[in-house]
């Protein structure tokens, strides 16, 4: 298990992904799954970096537990209450002219992870993803 505090800023994205990829490599997570988890982590961290702290900066705590069967990653921020899972899914059947890019990130997280849960705990937003393999 690893836990690390990051500044909630897009500049930290590479460090977040390095931490996660290091942990996944250590448990021989399959390449395809590693990519799915990285994409999911990027979407969630980018959301926190963009929206959690509109006034001033803040931090995000990332905790990762990986073994040879599953990975659980928990993202905690103390920003404004925000449950990204409440957002309606994008209509992916629309023709290109009517398609919008908003909401695709979280939609991909929901589709590729086995579990995605949101919890508001006191002043914290806690988003947890689980991927089995």
């Amino acid at each position: 298990m690893k836990e690390q505090v990051f500044s909630a800023s897009i500049d930290c994205l590479q460090d977040v992904l390095s931490l996660i990829e290091q942990e996944l490599e250590a448990v021989d997570c399959p390449m395809r799954t590693t990519i799915q988890i990285s994409v999911a982590a990027e979407e969630i961290f980018a959301n926190i970096a963009r929206y959690a702290y509109p006034e001033s900066g803040g931090t995000a705590v990332i905790r990762i537990e990986a073994d040879e069967h599953e990975t659980v990653i928990r993202f905690t921020d103390a920003g404004i209450p925000f449950n990204p899972l409440e957002k309606p899914d994008p209509d992916i059947s629309l023709p290109v002219e009517q398609r919008e890019a908003g909401g695709l990130g979280i939609y991909m997280v929901k589709k590729t992870m086995d579990e995605v849960t949101y919890q508001r705990d006191g002043l914290n937003n806690i988003l947890t993803i689980v991927k089995r393999y």
Binding site: V39, S93, P95, V96, E97, A101, L104, G105
Partner: protein, 98 residues
């Protein structure tokens, strides 16, 4: 991410290498905003692209919308991992993938 571009009249070929994600998508967006004017035949080569996130999808979608009005756009050599992202998000229906 490495962006290699080749322009020949109205034809523009762009090869991407690495990751098209939140950190790198803005540089592709910038390249396209400079180069896209007058292009009627746009081709992306994804042979060396490993990874795409929603930030990358956003750029592809806005580019596809522009190209629909001025010519054609193709995406070539898509690896299975990225193809899966295109399938999940319905992008395999709106892009021309070869």
């Amino acid at each position: 991410m490495e962006i290699t571009k080749k322009k020949d009249g109205g034809a523009l070929k762009i090869a991407l290498e690495g990751r098209l994600d939140t950190s790198t998508a803005p540089s592709l967006e910038e390249t396209l905003s400079k180069e896209l004017s007058g292009v009627t035949d746009l081709e992306f080569d994804f042979a060396k692209l490993e990874y795409i996130s929603s930030a990358g999808l956003r750029v592809l979608l806005s580019t596809q919308k522009i190209m629909k009005n001025q010519g054609t756009m193709k995406v070539k050599n898509v690896c299975p991992e990225i193809m899966e992202v295109f399938d999940i998000t319905g992008f395999s229906e709106i892009l021309t993938i070869e």
